[in-house]
């Protein structure tokens, strides 16, 4: 007989396992194909973050896992049991919706209590959990309000609270913090991390926030256009992106890609100078990927390196980034200190921090090992 999933048992000390396998999952809405075959293993207690451009299918994938939409093709297996046809409520999964989906006719307390009561929890237990969750999410003064009397961020917190109260085995969060202010966001982020450590449930988290992705994830899944581009730890993705898409997607400001041709052990930019970064891959022409930290600027026209012009500067308090344009039109960003600012249109020379460059195939964008 198939394993019985005890909904929400996790928090109460029992050890439950929640191991997810997605096998060749495809999804079509009438004639729009949205997911083109997703294969992914998610281990028990893992914290997986999905990132990817808007519209790439993250929410859709979450909905398939939740069981809200039927899977067009492929299999979703939870703890060895095929779940394609299991009702959402029997999957032991809670979800925080991107659009909150609060019950408009219930106040905040009732919104949170609804699912918990349905799990068969006693009233005092529900009250206890809600009190706990409300405190964590700073919702206490709002418990009696209806959703329409809440600000966007408040609604979002209620949506998170509603899922938290249920303490499920698998937790799906669809951009749960997008409407919170930075301070609250980092607080809630820490709480979620703590929660995950304590509960041990499996978390699947969609976010557009790099900081969230980097700090929370055991494993980041980068999606693009209904396909997975790379799966790996935050460090893997940042340091060894599998292709140009991942490389430019992870990291902010984004990695610049410069088209170069190889000339011995130098890399030549069309009409723009050359660099000598050391060990190089074999290809003749390739794409050089440069993150802000890999770029070193020196004022004026240098003899070695690439000549460039300053476009503008971004001040971020602790850092500042200078954006410079190479002769071939590529925009590079370089980290500088807030007090070392460049004037627009100033001429600069770009050189490289050794060992910080990435190389990609000029044809298909795959990473090339030097």
């Amino acid at each position: 007989m198939a394993a019985v999933i005890l909904r929400g048992a996790g928090w109460d000390g029992e050890t439950t396992v929640a191991q997810l396998s997605l096998r060749g999952i495809k999804k079509r809405f009438r004639d729009t194909a949205v997911l083109h075959g997703i294969d992914l293993e998610i281990g028990d207690r893992e914290f997986v973050v999905f990132v990817g451009p808007s519209g790439c299918g993250k929410s859709t994938l979450l909905r398939l896992i939740a069981g809200l939409d039927p899977i067009t093709e492929g299999e979703f297996v939870l703890n060895g049991t095929r779940m394609n046809d299991v009702a959402p409520s029997r999957r032991g999964i809670a979800m925080v919706f991107q659009s909150y989906a609060l019950y408009p006719h219930m106040n905040v307390y009732e919104n949170m209590a609804f699912g918990a009561r349905l799990m068969g929890l006693e009233k005092p237990e529900v009250e206890r959990r809600i009190a706990e969750t409300a405190a964590m999410l700073r919702l206490e003064p709002l418990l009696k309000r209806k959703p329409r009397e809440l600000s966007g961020g408040q609604r979002q917190r209620v949506a998170i609270g509603r899922a938290l109260v249920r303490k499920p085995d698998v937790f799906l969060l669809d951009e749960p913090l997008s409407n919170l202010d930075a301070a609250l966001r980092s607080e809630v982020r820490l709480e979620i991390a703590k929660l995950h450590r304590e509960i041990g449930g499996t978390m699947i988290y969609v976010t557009h926030d790099q900081v969230e992705a980097m700090t929370l994830a055991d494993k980041i899944v980068v999606m693009n256009n209904g396909r997975i581009e790379q799966v790996g730890s935050p460090r893997d993705l940042y340091e060894t992106p599998a292709n140009t898409f991942v490389a430019t997607f992870i990291g902010s400001p984004r990695m610049a890609l410069v088209d170069v041709t190889r000339d011995g052990n130098r890399l030549v930019v069309a009409n723009g100078g050359a660099l000598a970064p050391g060990a190089l891959p074999a290809a003749e022409t390739l794409k050089l990927g440069l993150r802000p930290d890999a770029v070193h600027l020196s004022r004026g026209q240098g003899s070695e390196g690439l000549s460039a012009r300053v476009e503008y500067t971004e001040y971020l308090g602790d850092n500042a980034y200078v954006y410079v344009r190479l002769v071939d039109g590529t925009l590079l960003s370089a980290r500088t200190t807030p007090n070392d600012l460049y004037a627009p249109d100033e001429a600069v020379t770009v050189s490289l921090t050794p060992g910080a460059a990435h190389y990609f195939s000029a044809e298909d964008g795959r990473r090339l090992n030097p």
């Binding site: 809200l68 039927p70 046809d85 299991v86 009702a87 329409r148």
Partner: protein, 306 residues
Amino acid sequence: MPQFRMTGRGLWITALIVPPLCFVALFIVYPIISAFAYAFFDWQGLKRLDFVGFENFHTVLFVEPYRSWTLNAFKNNIIVFFALMVLQNGLGFILAYALWRELPGARFHRIAVFLPVVLSTIIVAYLFKLFYHPLFGVVNISLKSIGLGEWAQPWLGQSGTALWSIIVAQAWHMVGFPTLVFLAGMQRIPSEILDAVRMETESEWVKISKIVWPLVAPSATIVFTLLFVGAFNWFELPYIMGGLDGSPFGSTDVLGLYFYRTAFGNVSSGQQDFGLGSALAVLIFIFIAAIAAVITTRLRAREIQL
């Protein structure tokens, strides 16, 4: 919408659908179908004679005087439908819009608009008969008192005014209903959408025609379909105000009256013929059901989820 194939869902849907279906099937469809069978027989009073196929249908459609009676009643129903479309649904939409604005006193107005709806047709009919009374009716008395004496009319006695007088009574009675439905629809429009449009225009007309109207499509479907069905099944009010004959001389005759007096007879003038009556009923039903189905499907296509 979720798919049907999930476990247990089928059973649940069946459980939801079957009891109401049974009720309708047993107490409406089954008796009606038995009654429809009458249409294929010849009748002498209450006595069923031979099976005559479609003869009764032929008679009511093509044989005088039935043909002109049928056409006349049908024509009146069409007038009623379009008149009520304007007077009842049109006004209802305007009233709903006004009420929706929550102007001062809206609460009271709301109660007032819906009050006539809870009255029975008999009351409405009697009241308006009194109003239209040629000698003592408030309509004529009011006209005379403001110097428009020559406009005073025997409202219910002339072919030109009788039907319209009854239509006005009907509109008075039921205008609250579309108002209610439209108001409910308007209240479901998310407020941000209204905010968004307020940023772009203050023209009430644009707001109504481009935003409110499309977004109350479900209400419109309900109101239009029910009005259509109601207008072609109209019976009570013309029955009490104009009589079973559609007095004067058929100018207030509608299909509902016509079918009823054909099937059951009119004490003071007519004969009873179940065959012809049923044939009429079948034709009316086919007409209404076909058009209503078309209206509904076409209107439903405009509806969108909020």
